[in-house]
């Protein structure tokens, strides 16, 4: 049933009794043309675009838990394409363009809120870097604007723009089209649309082994039995190393925990996304009213989906340093997600060195905004057994070749990105 104001009104009269399942829950078939591991946004989007763009609809998405329960369901929902390096800029801008039309494409409101993403700058060196990045964006055809301290102060009245602040706000780089997207809706919207195209979404189905025969993918061993497939896409975010190891592949990836937190809901108080690299902090206000906040990693390998107090203290301290009037709001919930941190901070969307095996992963802090493009390009790579020009730079081999895509210049220290 198509979703619309009309169908909603009609169903209201019928007691909302006829809404069908958003996605079926079929038992897995014995074999598929392609299998995607991971029912997060990336895996579901991969399946959707395989069916939609490439006509490959005999596809299964295998999710060990419930769809969207990984980082898709626990991220701070920021989408943007304000990258400096060309490969990243083109990729994320492609993604942002897909976001702009996604609700309609999926017939599921993912609430892409183009409320702007503002990166504050606090030192002359910050300004230089922000200008370099903003100029690169503009030359790449991406919207960007440098805002002065005065403009920012007028726009965000709760932000402490006084020159005496510990990290004084000297200006900021704004991407007006950046913003937020409702995280859960992305998983559900892709699932529903993929399902409608015939994709099987199999929850509670953990991939426990990858069968390789004669150097090529034969299928996967799962908690629900063996499933044969000649093409296997891995989209498991924080678990990339674990799953790739099933095919004997070691990745330049470490898993780390990143925490996020929300305050109690309040009436609108912050209308844009504000981030600060110097104080390692980002915040936006959800439509429900909570401040959604995050900061740095916990800086040690972890698969625990929970972090520790020092980072929470730091995030809240940073929040209050920038927004001193939020001091009496209360923190309502904190949680963590497992980040697949690569050695250059950029993703890997590529063929792996086993025939028929592909991956999209290595998302670090920033893969939510990549979801549509990652799915699109991963699907393309699977369908054509070759990358699309947009993901051609994001290979696994780039490290050995010296073609790192190191946006921060932080080097081969996974947790430093």
């Amino acid at each position: 049933m198509r979703y619309s104001a009309f169908s909603l009104a009609r169903e209201a009269l019928r007691g909302h009794r006829d809404w069908p399942r958003a996605w079926r829950s079929p038992p897995p078939k014995k074999a598929y043309d392609a299998v995607v591991i991971g029912g997060g946004g990336h895996g579901l989007a991969t399946a959707y675009y395989l069916a939609k763009e490439h006509g490959v609809s005999n596809v299964a998405v295998l999710e060990k838990g419930w769809i969207g329960g990984g980082n898709t369901g626990r991220n701070t929902t920021i989408v943007r394409s304000n990258y400096h390096l060309d490969a990243n800029a083109h990729f994320y801008e492609f993604s942002l363009k897909l976001w702009e039309k996604l609700s309609q494409a999926l017939n599921f409101n993912v609430m892409y809120s183009a409320r702007g993403v503002l990166n504050l700058v606090h030192s002359p060196a910050d300004i230089d870097a922000a200008m370099r990045r903003g100029n690169a964006m503009r030359l790449n055809g991406i919207d960007a604007k440098f805002m002065s301290r005065e403009e920012i102060a007028a726009w965000i009245p709760n932000l402490d723009c006084s020159p005496h602040a510990r990290f004084p706000v000297l200006g900021g780089l704004l991407q007006p089209r950046g913003g937020t997207v409702r995280h859960d809706a992305v998983a559900w919207g892709y699932a529903r649309a993929a399902d409608a195209l015939g994709v099987d979404i199999v929850e509670r189905c953990e991939v426990q082994g990858i069968r390789v025969e004669g150097g090529a993918i034969a299928g996967v061993e799962t908690s629900q039995g063996f499933i044969a497939t000649p093409k296997l896409g891995i989209a498991v975010a924080g678990h990339s190393s674990h799953v790739a190891a099933m095919a004997g592949i070691t990745l330049p990836i470490e898993s780390h925990v990143l925490q996020a937190m929300v305050s109690e809901p309040v009436k609108p108080i912050l209308d844009t996304v504000v981030t600060s690299g110097a104080v390692h902090f980002y915040v936006s206000q959800s439509d429900k009213g909570e401040l959604v906040m995050g900061g740095d990693l916990d800086f040690y390998n972890s698969y625990a989906q929970r972090g520790n107090l020092p980072v929470i203290e730091h995030v809240v301290a940073a929040c209050l340093a920038l927004f001193p009037s939020f001091g009496r709001l209360k923190l309502m919930r904190t949680w963590g997600g497992i980040m697949d941190m690569t050695m250059d901070g950029s993703p890997i969307i590529a063929k792996l060195p086993v025939k028929g095996l592909y991956m999209t992963g290595g998302w670090c802090y920033g893969g939510f905004k990549a979801t549509p493009a990652s799915g699109f390009l991963h699907a393309h790579t699977i369908a054509h057994d070759a990358p699309h020009p947009l993901n051609a730079p994001f290979t696994l081999e780039r490290f050995a070749e010296g073609r790192m895509i190191d946006e921060k210049g932080a080097g081969p220290y996974a947790w430093a990105h």
Binding site: D287, G289, M332
Partner: protein
Amino acid sequence: MQKFRLATGGDIDRGHPVRFEFNGAPLEGYRGDTLASALLAHGRHLVGRSFKYHRPRGIFSAGAEEPSALVQIARGARTEPNARATVVEVHDGLVARSQNCWPSVRFDLGAINNVVSRLIPAGFYYKTFMWPPTPAAWLRYEHWIRRAAGMGRSATSADPDRYDQRFAHCDVLVVGGGVAGLAAARAAAGGGARVIVCDETPRWGGLARRGASSVPIDGAPRGDWIDTCVDDLAGAADVTMLSRSTAFGYYDGNLVGAVERVTHHLAAPLPPFAPRERLWLIRAKAVVLASGAHERGIAYPDNDRPGTMLLSAARTYVERFGVRPGTCAVVFANHDGAYDDALALRDAGIEIAAVVDPRDDAAMAGVDVRRARDAGLPVHARSLVLRAHGGHRVHAVDVAAREGGKSQRIDCDLVCVAGGWSPAVHLFSQARGTLRYDEAIAAFVPDASPLPIVAAGAANGCFDDALLAADGTAAGEAALALARGASPSPAAVARPPRAPGAAPVEPLWTVPAPYGAKRFVDLQNDVTVDDVALAKREGYQSVEHLKRYTTLGMGTDQGKTSNVPGLALMAAELGTTIPAVGTTTFRPPYTPVTMGAFPGAHTGPHVEPVRRSAMHAWHASQGARFVNAGLWKRPHSYPRTGESEDDAARREAINVRRNVGVVDVSTLGKIELQGRDAAAFLNRVYINRFDSLAVGRCRYGVMLRDDGMVMDDGTTSRLADTHFLVTTTTVNAVRVMQHFEYLLQVAWPTLEVYATSVTEQWSAAAISGPRARDVVAALVDLDVSNAAFPFLAVGACRVRTADGEVPGRLFRMSYSGELAYELHVPTVHGLAAWEGIIAAGAPFGLMPYGTEAMSTLRIEKGHVVVGAEADGRTTADDLGLGKLVNAGKWCVGKPLLGRPALVADDRWQLVGLTAQHGAVMPRGGKLVADPDRAPPIPMQGHITSWCESPHVGAWIGLALLAGGRARHGETLWAVSPLADQRVRVTVGPPAFIDPEGTRLRG
């Protein structure tokens, strides 16, 4: 007039009336009241409006689990949204307001949402607002949705209050000061443990503190037992008692975070130096979780009408606060435990119009049921409350037999629901404890944790008053054993002790209802039974999907009274069991924690510490503008009256080239190395050689990361045969020290090298300019002639200062390209030496200069900066330093330098740029061949540093340019679309001044 206040009873102090304000009306309560109890004393139930439908809402509980009675406290900068009226202690001057309503809580326009509620079931927003199909359209919808959502309001000016932090350590931490917790604490303390016991309320004793229950503890009346126990604990040397302190989270290493509300309950003026709250970080060897249990409701139509509350809460209001929450009550309960509470209400003069119990008579076998019947309470067995009537206050309910038939309307002004209890297992679950579904109480109880945590009392599923103290004692003893090193085992967790024959709870989560009737499960987020059914129908069946699709349990109460009913309803929909559906994850904080409490004093100007050089005060006194460099504050420039910062920097730079300037370089990282293998170590760390460096000489060096990229640069001096001084960049000092330590301890432990950071030990000033020698000669006791002290010489010296002669180290090195010296003195003498330099330099026109002039000078000279030119993606060769990479030796980073892309011809390489025709070089400009192309416009490089060069008389810059070293002489465009600038620039070598280095050698 406190019309509903009882004449006697309760823990309130009738001798101490307090005056507060609610929705503008002045009201009176007593010391000891919560806002909720004081409002109820006036017969006020209507407190606020619900989140989504803006329905009138009252007071549902008497504690931290409150979903409904949320209010806005105080005004102005001290205003606090979403305060739970049930835990706010009244005091003189307290101001509270209903929130999420406009214009008033009685008449709220937002209640239109209730009228159209059929259109907006769970998740409706995912299905609509997609037309017109533009991002701008959603932004407009969102604008209104956001305004309707949210709850209270944030303050808009800075929180004026202070927050403290405290680390604490103990053997046993007891969370919860009810009977079970007190017994546990006493047992642990009795065994010699260091004990901390905390309770979030102001009073010890928990639920047992209410009234005089008939069940004695250890033979004593409950109140007496509690008082004695509290006295014992308070008197014990190794026991710390924290009241008004909520343990909110259980973290790794058995660290429990707790927040103490220090002044919330006090009237102004507050004790002047007391923090508002204190964050306790309690490292416990073992934890007893005695956090009690939360009673839950039953979902029947309009079960949210003000005047509806948990039965135990009604009793708490009567017995703890001496308030009658109504005059005539209907009790809707599904277990025997409720009858004692019902009797207590009746004893307080509340008429019990009915006790409605869904169970068969046969199941209602408990003594209290019999007592109630004997006392004449009208008990309706096998019956249900089918709906409530009323708007701002309930005035009747419909009751009918379970199997159907005609319903009977029973008038009442209070409905007390008792749907069973859910143990407060939050911290147990956070401690990786597993939960077990206990059929007998229809709730999840602690099962086993790999960590040293033991549950006790109601938190452990022990609901029997007669067994509580024993359960607590057992838990205290078990925790003591854990603290002494026993390993956690499932056996250590006491099973919920239960008296034989105790009647099980009969689970009842909802009652039948017609379409459209609202049976609320989650009162705060307006989640109804129909919403759960809808979620099921649409496939959002996993408990986590249910939560996220309906927002069940996502409010400020985090579903304390609603989670179990919600998942039970889903289980019923799916035809499966409750444990098969499972719970959602219990995350910290247990109850919301004031954000201000987390950083304590470390916020605002103290969010990060500030490093100040010894000369900081001098710079400030000279009007320096400071910039952040790492944690340091460095002078950017010293503007004179009427002078802009840029003008000042230009003047300072010119003065260095013409006369002489001095800059504070104390912030540079400094590491001293000693030991037999120090030179060998440096050879391995830097791309260039240091074993060939003579004593008394220094050399510039570059070090690489393991991946071959430039990590840092600086100078190294040989002070003695086995003694070196390494300088690093300001920002990388800590990192380089750690890198050295790693290499020395982990990679090359056989090298005999000792390292220590001396950044703090030495204050440093760079004196540069053609007249630098004159200044230095006047200061130090060395012969500084070119012959005696040539370029790159190093020597110990005595420095003349106003303090007398102080020891120093003199270095002949130059960053500016001029004749220059660096003078280091011990930091105690830093200021004196600086003032000495200023005085000695006066005759020669010396001026201090800041980082901005320093930057201009080094750009003119073509010196790279780590962070700008060396941006973490550049090799030494990219920066034109490839010749330093010594072919004859190995160094860190060298093995991977040969990767194909690192030796490609089109790598971005360092060049100098000059803007043509006097144009201003664009900040952060990009280098392109054709700026008029349609985007994306290919970029060939970018400007890394730039300045208006007084020396060149034009804007110049350093840049990284594809294949740049081979392109000197080319003309390109430098563009900044952000600043709407485009400039023609000429590519050249990076050094704009004295490329041969005659000045600095002169």
